[in-house]
């Protein structure tokens, strides 16, 4: 199909301004991760890096479908750094997390994208997979009790969808009719385990049928189509029509973490998915439609480089935590979290 600015606007409901915003967030996600890898190689990042290369599209597209000014909250998984950036997390905040700095949002207690700020609309995950689905069911249930017109979105992987917490959470959220969108990212692998060893279902969204939720599967590397599907799910939730289980089909282009060379993934598969890179595809659509020029893409990338140079400097000069603080802030009342950092 051929794109024009008008056809994109008509088909997907995205203005030029929002399309450029998506482009910015896609490139920001990819570039920030590249910076994190380079800091890792310099020994400045302490823990693991879980790349979202090839999955930036679905993260950014799904989060863009939310309306953070209405109090919407997204709970990303490890490969959804893009969701956080769309919600308004700053690159320096993510860098401080990776670099375990004392003034990170978690003050050096937690890793990578495990950060929360409800005022901006995000809450990072805990590592036991599936847990965030019941939690987000409670967040959205409370939002409804409080008379807010908010929507929640929670991410889970093809592997995480095998957990008991996922099954309970999906059913519970559906029967409670809470305004929640559950996004399953089917990226082919859970660490080394292929999706065919997680489930014999061919479409993970069909799990919605068993509980009475709405379900949809979309090409997660098609940013525009993913946005449209996510937006439909968000609108349903906001209208009080309940839970949607949205499967985004994508591919994990790197190993589970930086140490993992993904030797268990057939080379042809990686080659095949390289051709479907979501950022390339999105940029081709925008260029073809004339929404954006090659110069504008270059200028967005230059802007991101400048922003990240500053963010990396800021993160590197951020203080380390004070060792004795390790004992504080477990319970309310010791003043730790009231202190400025």
């Amino acid at each position: 199909m051929t794109f024009t600015a008008a056809s994109i606007e008509a088909e997907y409901g995205l203005s030029r301004e929002r399309l450029l915003q998506i482009e910015y967030h896609l490139r920001l996600t990819r570039s920030l991760e590249e910076r994190i890898v380079s800091l890792f190689r310099q020994g400045k990042v302490i823990g693991g890096i879980y790349r979202s290369l090839g999955q930036e599209g679905e993260s950014v597209a799904c989060a863009t479908a939310l309306n953070f000014s209405k109090g919407d909250i997204v709970s990303p998984l490890i490969r959804n750094m893009g969701s956080l950036l769309v919600a308004g997390a700053k690159p320096v905040e993510i860098l401080r997390q990776y670099m375990a700095r004392g003034n990170s949002l978690t003050r050096g207690r937690e890793l990578n994208i495990h950060i929360k700020d409800f005022d901006r609309g995000f809450m990072g995950p805990v590592s036991p997979l599936g847990a965030m689905i019941p939690v987000m069911a409670g967040v959205t249930m409370a939002g409804r009790m409080q008379g807010k017109n908010m929507v929640g979105m929670v991410h889970i992987g093809d592997g995480g969808a095998s957990t008991g917490a996922f099954a309970e959470g999906l059913n519970f959220a559906t029967v409670m009719k809470v305004p929640l969108v559950i996004v399953i990212e089917n990226n082919g692998y859970a660490y080394s385990t292929p999706t065919v060893k997680q489930t014999l279902a061919t479409k993970l969204s069909e799990r919605a049928l068993g509980v009475g939720a709405a379900g949809e599967t979309v090409d997660g590397n098609d940013v525009l189509a993913t946005y449209r599907a996510a937006r439909r799910a968000v609108d349903r939730a906001r209208a009080g029509e309940g839970v949607t289980l949205l499967e985004v089909v994508t591919f994990r282009m790197k190993g589970h973490a930086e140490h993992d060379n993904q030797s268990y993934v057939p080379k042809e598969l990686i080659e095949e998915w390289k051709q479907k890179d979501p950022v390339d595809r999105y940029e081709r659509a925008l260029l073809e439609s004339g929404v954006i020029s090659p110069e504008e893409i270059a200028s967005i990338q230059a802007r991101i480089k400048g922003e990240l140079d500053i963010a990396v400097d800021e993160a590197e000069s951020s203080p380390l935590p004070i060792a004795e603080d390790s004992a504080r802030g477990v319970y309310h009342g010791d003043g730790f979290w009231d202190e400025q950092r």
Binding site: P128, A131, P134, V135, A137, G138, G143, G169, A173, V330
Partner: protein
Amino acid sequence: MSDNLIPKAGGETFYIDAIRQAMREEMLVDPRVFLIGEDVGVFGGAFKTSSGLIEEFGPERVIDTPISEVAITGAACGAALMGMRPIAEMQFINFITVTFDMLSSFAATSRYRGNGGCPIVVRGPAGGGVRGGPFHSGNPEAYFFNIPGLKIVYPGTAYDAKGLLKAAIRDEDPVLYLEHKYLYRRIKEDLPADDYVVPIGKAKLRREGRDLTIITYGAMIYLAEEAAEELAKDGVSVEILDMRSILPFDEEAMLESVAKTNRAIVLYEAPLTGGVGAEFAARIAEKAFDWLDAPIKRVASLDTPVPYAPALEDFHRPSKAKLIAAAKELLRY
């Protein structure tokens, strides 16, 4: 619904009604408080602990759920982060193990990892002696005792049941509230008509004595009293300390009592090995060794699942005879 199901504050009150009064009164004064669990609404709870509440507060605040302990506690966590004050009921406290991860990984760590305080109350019927068998007689406090970030309380009287539940609901941190099902309709006392709380972390001296201290909590306070009465006939003066709160626990009260009596029995209803009483004993050994005239004794249940048949369960549990034997052994030193 006739309002005789909704207990009025104060007066002669059963342990179970003290729990309901606490929930009701907190729901009346604080719109953030709600109850969520299996059969808690229309049915009023498997033990009728919440009967009358849905009629008074509606299904938005007394929420019947699917059989999903993970989702119940997880949703409570999410709501708490949004500023609500959820009370999640486990139909039997044994089922709390289903949601161990939600409590240990999510709720307990939330504040420490910068995710914000998670002020939930998870309550449910604990304890044996009711011929409930392996899955309806549990005392799970030790499973959670090693999890910083949680609080655990286990009241043994109607007064404490009400006051500790109010304190738990008002607390800024996640609290596991264990209520002993054997006590539900077996004990009652006059409660004050006015609002009160029992502070979390404070023990209560139930009986003053000179010769030895029984440190205990939950329904075991009554077993301790029976033993103390019996020992009194032989001229032995027993002090009984009801810990009431298990995490944090009142170390000061414990050490103070041991410094006075110089002998300590730690009595608990859970299995012996790795029980909460093991930590109590370790703390006394560490901090009050100079005061001790005898080793610290533990009296607890056998290291087995809880059996069903009366003869088996009675043998499994702490008994007056076991307690008196332990006391006599200590008194020989």
